[in-house]
Assembly symmetry: C2
Homo-oligomer: 357 residues x 2
Amino acid sequence: MKVAIVGAGLMGTATCYPLSDNGHDVRLVGTHLDGDIIESCRERGYHPRLKRQLPSGVRPFFVDEIAQALDGVDVIVSGVNSLGVHWIGHAIGPYLRPGQLVVAVTKGLEAAENGDLLILPDVVYGELPEDVRDEVTLAAIAGPCIAGELAGRRQSCVVYGSRDRHAAYELAGIFRTSYYHIWPTGDLVALELCAAFKNAYTLGVGLAAGLLEQAGGVDSAGAYTYNLAAATFAQGCTEISRWLQIAGGVSAEKVHVFAYGLPSPGDFYVTTQGGRTVRLGRLLGAGHTFAEAREIMAGETLEAAEIVRVMADALPKLTARGIVAVGEFPLLQALVDVVVRGLPLDLPLDAYFQSMA
Amino acid sequence: MKVAIVGAGLMGTATCYPLSDNGHDVRLVGTHLDGDIIESCRERGYHPRLKRQLPSGVRPFFVDEIAQALDGVDVIVSGVNSLGVHWIGHAIGPYLRPGQLVVAVTKGLEAAENGDLLILPDVVYGELPEDVRDEVTLAAIAGPCIAGELAGRRQSCVVYGSRDRHAAYELAGIFRTSYYHIWPTGDLVALELCAAFKNAYTLGVGLAAGLLEQAGGVDSAGAYTYNLAAATFAQGCTEISRWLQIAGGVSAEKVHVFAYGLPSPGDFYVTTQGGRTVRLGRLLGAGHTFAEAREIMAGETLEAAEIVRVMADALPKLTARGIVAVGEFPLLQALVDVVVRGLPLDLPLDAYFQSMA
């Protein structure tokens, strides 16, 4: 197959490895932000952020060569981050051909004017040319997959979702290797909600490490704040499961399979093991305002904060419409209060875990 | 209230802190293995394993003073480990009085001859004198709670379970503090299954770090094996949810509340953050046989391995009886193969996450 990846960041590029190993014709297209990455790939076959040689047969393209890169491809992978999802539609739009598969690795969430949540594949859909967008099939990749591990050919388990279940199976067949295990699903919305919300809730888990700092650090007997991190993790899982229930169109059985499987606790778990979202949570937990933390982490994409910002707007609207009950998402509300409203951190632990008795 | 804790290990002793803070009369009774702990507590008010001063008003007792310690108490906490659950019944049996509450902090599992799983409070029940065992109420504590953090008065969220829901509420009222958040539940079996299985599955998560060692460690681009750990975590959550469904007597709604809440992913998460179960998994993942790992960790209680051993016996019986389907617990089976059957480690990733599509 011929596959083009648009966006030469970590995750987009990492998908080159299983594709190359499977013998596909792979083209890696940088965005306008990826110029030096593509230059390095061209000159040395080396991806400076991934810190690896590109696998054999992957051809790098600059953004102005996108027409050539997309020529005749069967699959286009959107490897841009959540800030690039509007751009990508316009960038690939003119070159789309009926029957192509468009797969997004981006994690994020937007909301409609009335508060309805919009998954990113649907945002991309809205940016595609009207005459072709119903002729291509949109899909997404989610699940616990640190890009550097996939590129290192470490064992990884992920989910490929599309409303067209057959397309999800087809994509799984194209990408699957002995180290890249893929489960196809038709529940695209559920998959994307897990992928987005696990980022927001990872911010919550990160708070515990910051609160530890604020309390003077590990005490003389060696006590951390893992209990609090774990309770936050569990409340995050609980709230993700509620979003799946609210989303509509997801069967009760599938809500549960996702809520205690790879898309929710699996992806959530790997995200809490480190990275910028945890670091942001730690700064907030240590008492920094979001503005201060934003400044300390200047230049980094804070997707979790973007999701919290979207939800700050959407939550009251969904509550007003009776879709969300008051107090149904106490952890998310606490994140909104800190990140968007600038209030001091106050985790309402006693409001967690309703209906446990 | 008057509360006696029998077993002066980490978790038993940690419960003294909220009890003391709530002004209760607290007695801490060492087992025959805790002699030097009680001596230190008597002489210096210092618990050498917890590395902390006992809180004010806690009176330490040697095991031969148990009659005096249990005199007139309202609540008895069993703080022994899973190897002590048969002993505890005999130790406290003669002093039980009708109306008392007996709370176990022990995590573990046994199985009946036919493979039926037995939660530890029911094992304790079987060891109590027949004339009084129906006159006391058994309960258990579970959820993500590292003892040293509770004793350090760090924020902790746990679940108190009893088939007598009213007793669970009563106990929660006795133990709850501003840092020790307690959710009472009537679903004792579900709670105890989560607490036991999360130990077994943490062994599975620990394998990833050992497999990393075996693969030569972190590679030059910084790739760990977090993706594999996360997939194992997710499969563990999935298998725990199935045990809750199989257990019977747990409503479908409650299965889910537990399976994506504090008892399952919450407790599982905290357990994977470190400790001897992770260490054992790491040794097995690195290629040691269980016998070798057992020797390297001589003297340590390996509760996870005990649970795997119990399940090695119970799984085929439950399968033969049609209660468990063949291949329904691929991760647990892989653990049985390594820990009990001495086979080389082989994680059957492609058998995970059935019914995802």
